[in-house]
C-alpha cells in the first residue's frame, strides 16, 4: 500500500515540479514552472471546460435514467427479478464493449440511430464526428453505461423507505405523484446526493469510451482532463507537464471525495 498508493501520490507532486530535457534522458527541478505553464495553456483550459460540460450532462442523465429504473423495480411484483436483471445489466458490460456497441449504434452509415431518424423523416446526425455533438453524445454513452450501477444503489435506497409511510399517505388520499414528491424524494435524497457525488467523481475520470470512440477528437472537442494528461504523457512525451495536470485533477477529485467521505461518515454514525 505504501509502495503502490502513498509513494505514487507523493511522487506525483514531486514529478510535477520537474521537467525533462528533449531526449527524456534527464530531468531538472523547475519549481512551479509546469503549473505556471498549465494556467496559461489554452489547451489545458479547453480540456477542463470539456470535462465539466461532460460531467454536467452525465450526472443528471445517469441519475434520472437510474432513478426511473429503480422506482420501477424497488418493490416486488411478479417478474421483478427479470426486470431487475435487465435494468442492472449495464453494470456487467465492460467499458470497451459498451463503446463498441455505441460506436456501431451511432455509425454514420450503418447505425440504427440514424436509420430510425431517417425513417421518421428526420435528418441524420453526425453523432461522434462533429465537434458540437461529440461531447454530449459521449456523455450520454457514459451515462448509459452507468445506469445499472446507479439503479442498484437507488434501489437499495428506496427499499429502506418504510412501506407504512405510503400506506398512511394513501389513506390520506395522496396520489402517486404526491407520494413521490412528499415521501420518496425527501427520504431518498441522502442516497441521491451520495450517488450524485459518485457519478460526478467517476465521470470526471472517464477514459475508455473516449479513447475508443473519438480519441479526443474531432478538433479536440472530447479531449477531457484525463485524456489531456494521457496525451501529454504518452504522445507529446511531456511526462512532467502531464503530472502537473494530473495533480491539479487530483485536487479537484480530492475535494469531491472529501465531501462524499464526510457525508458517508455521517451516515455510518446516524444511519
Amino acid at each position: 500500500m505504501l509502495l503502490f498508493i502513498v509513494w505514487p501520490t507523493l511522487s506525483a507532486f514531486w514529478l510535477s515540479f520537474h521537467r525533462e530535457n528533449l531526449l527524456g534522458t534527464s530531468r531538472e527541478w523547475v519549481g512551479l514552472a509546469n503549473y505556471a505553464e498549465m494556467l496559461k495553456d489554452p489547451a489545458f483550459w479547453r480540456s477542463v471546460g470539456a470535462t465539466f460540460v461532460f460531467a454536467a450532462i452525465v450526472a443528471p442523465v445517469q441519475l434520472v435514467l437510474g432513478l426511473v429504473a429503480a422506482l420501477m423495480v424497488a418493490r416486488p411484483f411478479p417478474g421483478v427479478g427479470f426486470f431487475r436483471t435487465l435494468f442492472f445489466l449495464t453494470t456487467a458490460v465492460p467499458t470497451a464493449v459498451a463503446a463498441v456497441a455505441w460506436g456501431w449504434f451511432l455509425h454514420p452509415v450503418g447505425g440504427t440511430a440514424n436509420r430510425w431518424l431517417e425513417a421518421l423523416g428526420l435528418p441524420r446526425q453526425p453523432w461522434l464526428t462533429s465537434p458540437e455533438l461529440a461531447l454530449p453524445t459521449l456523455a450520454v454513452v457514459t451515462a448509459w453505461a452507468g445506469v445499472g450501477f446507479t439503479a442498484i444503489l437507488l434501489t437499495a435506497g428506496l427499499q429502506q423507505i418504510p412501506e407504512e409511510l405510503y400506506e398512511a399517505a394513501r389513506i390520506d388520499g395522496a396520489g402517486p405523484w404526491t407520494q413521490f414528491w412528499r415521501i420518496t424524494l425527501p427520504l431518498l435524497s441522502p442516497t441521491l446526493f451520495l450517488v450524485a457525488l459518485l457519478v460526478l467523481l467517476s465521470s470526471l475520470t472517464a477514459f475508455g469510451q473516449i479513447h475508443l470512440l473519438t480519441r479526443g477528437g474531432p478538433m479536440e472537442s472530447t479531449t477531457v482532463w484525463i485524456y489531456r494528461v494521457y496525451q501529454d504523457a504518452f504522445f507529446n512525451f511531456r511526462f512532467y507537464y502531464a503530472s502537473a495536470q494530473a495533480v491539479a485533477l487530483f485536487l479537484v477529485l480530492l475535494l469531491l471525495a472529501a465531501l462524499q467521505f464526510r457525508f458517508f461518515g455521517r451516515r455510518v454514525h446516524y444511519g
Binding site: 503502490f4 420501477m72 445489466l89 453494470t91 470497451a96 463498441v100 456497441a101 442498484i152 457525488l197 494528461v229
Partner: protein
C-alpha cells in the same frame, strides 16, 4: 383502474428495458450479419451467419486475450481477498499500538483516486521492469483500502464471544482468522470478490499504458486493437466484442446477488 394499470406498468417496464438494452441488442444482431448485409437496411439479419465469429477468432487470439484478463482478474481478486482479510482481521481483533491511527490512514487512502497516481506508478513499474507482465496488472492493486476497510468493519461486527471461546480452546490469531473470522465473513468476502473481479476485468487506462506486446493484452485493450484494424468490418468487431462480453455477462447472471451486494457495499463508500 388497477386492472388497467397493471398491463400499462408492464408495458412501461418492457419499453424502458428495451431502450436500455437496445445498443447491446444492436451489437449482438450485427455480429450475425454477413459483410453484404451489414450496411443494408433492416434491423434483423435476413440470413444469420457465424462468419464474423469465425473471422474474429481466426484473425485474433481472442482466447489468449480472455485468458490474460482472467489471470489478471483472478490474481487481483485472490490477492485482495488475502490482504484484506489478514489486515482487516488485524485491525479489528489484534490490539497494538497505533491501531486506530493505522485504520485512519487506510480510510484516508480511500480518498485517493487511482486515475491520478497512474503516471508515477507507470514510472515505478517501468523501473521495476514489469511492463508487459501480469505483475504490472495485478500487484499494484492488491492492497485495496476499500477491501481492508470492508473486512475490518465486518470482522469487528462479529460477536466477541466466538473469539473468546476460540481463545479458551487455545487458538492463536492465525487459527481464529482462518476458522472463525473467515467462514463468518463469507458474505463480505463474496461481495468484495465480485466487486474486485469486475473492476479488474474492466480496467482500461492502466493496461493500455503498461502493455504493448500483443500476447499480453487484456480483452478490453484487444477490442481497441480489433476496432482499429477492422475499420469497415463492424460485424467482426461486434463478434469480438460479444465474445469479450460473454464471460462477464455469464458471471453477472450467475452471481448477480454478489455483484449487486458488492456494488451496494462499495458504492455506499465509493
Amino acid at each position: 383502474m388497477a386492472r388497467l394499470a397493471r398491463p400499462l406498468f408492464y408495458l412501461g417496464l418492457a419499453a424502458y428495458a428495451f431502450l436500455l438494452v437496445l445498443p447491446l441488442l444492436n451489437l449482438f444482431v450485427a455480429s450475425f450479419k454477413s459483410d453484404g448485409e451489414l450496411f443494408a437496411p433492416g434491423f434483423w439479419p435476413a440470413n444469420p451467419t457465424l462468419e464474423p465469429y469465425r473471422e474474429a477468432l481466426q484473425k485474433y487470439p481472442l482466447a489468449r486475450y480472455l485468458l490474460n484478463s482472467l489471470v489478471v482478474a483472478l490474481g487481483t481478486t485472490l490477492g485482495v481477498l488475502l490482504v484484506s482479510a489478514t489486515l482487516g482481521y488485524a485491525l479489528a481483533r489484534i490490539p497494538f499500538a497505533g491501531q486506530s491511527a493505522l485504520f485512519g490512514f487506510v480510510v484516508a487512502l480511500l480518498l485517493i483516486p487511482g486515475e491520478v497516481t497512474f503516471l508515477p506508478l507507470y514510472l515505478l513499474v517501468q523501473q521495476l521492469g514489469w511492463l508487459n507482465t501480469y505483475t504490472a496488472l495485478i500487484v499494484p492493486f492488491i492492497a485495496s483500502p476499500l477491501g481492508i476497510f470492508l473486512l475490518r468493519q465486518f470482522i469487528k461486527s462479529l460477536p466477541q464471544d466466538l473469539f473468546d471461546a476460540a481463545r479458551i480452546d487455545g487458538a492463536g490469531h492465525l487459527r481464529m482468522l482462518w476458522h472463525v473470522a473467515l467462514p463468518l465473513s463469507a458474505p463480505a468476502l463474496g461481495a468484495l470478490a465480485a466487486l474486485t473481479f469486475l473492476g479488474s476485468w474492466n480496467m482500461y487506462l492502466w493496461p493500455l499504458v503498461t502493455i504493448n506486446r500483443s500476447e499480453m493484452m487484456t480483452a478490453q485493450i484487444a477490442i481497441a486493437q480489433v476496432q482499429n484494424v477492422e475499420v469497415t468490418s463492424w460485424n467482426v468487431v461486434a463478434a469480438a466484442a460479444v465474445l469479450v462480453l460473454l464471460p462477464t455477462l455469464i458471471a453477472f447472471l450467475l452471481a448477480q446477488r454478489l455483484f449487486i451486494r458488492g456494488i451496494a457495499l462499495g458504492g455506499l463508500k465509493g
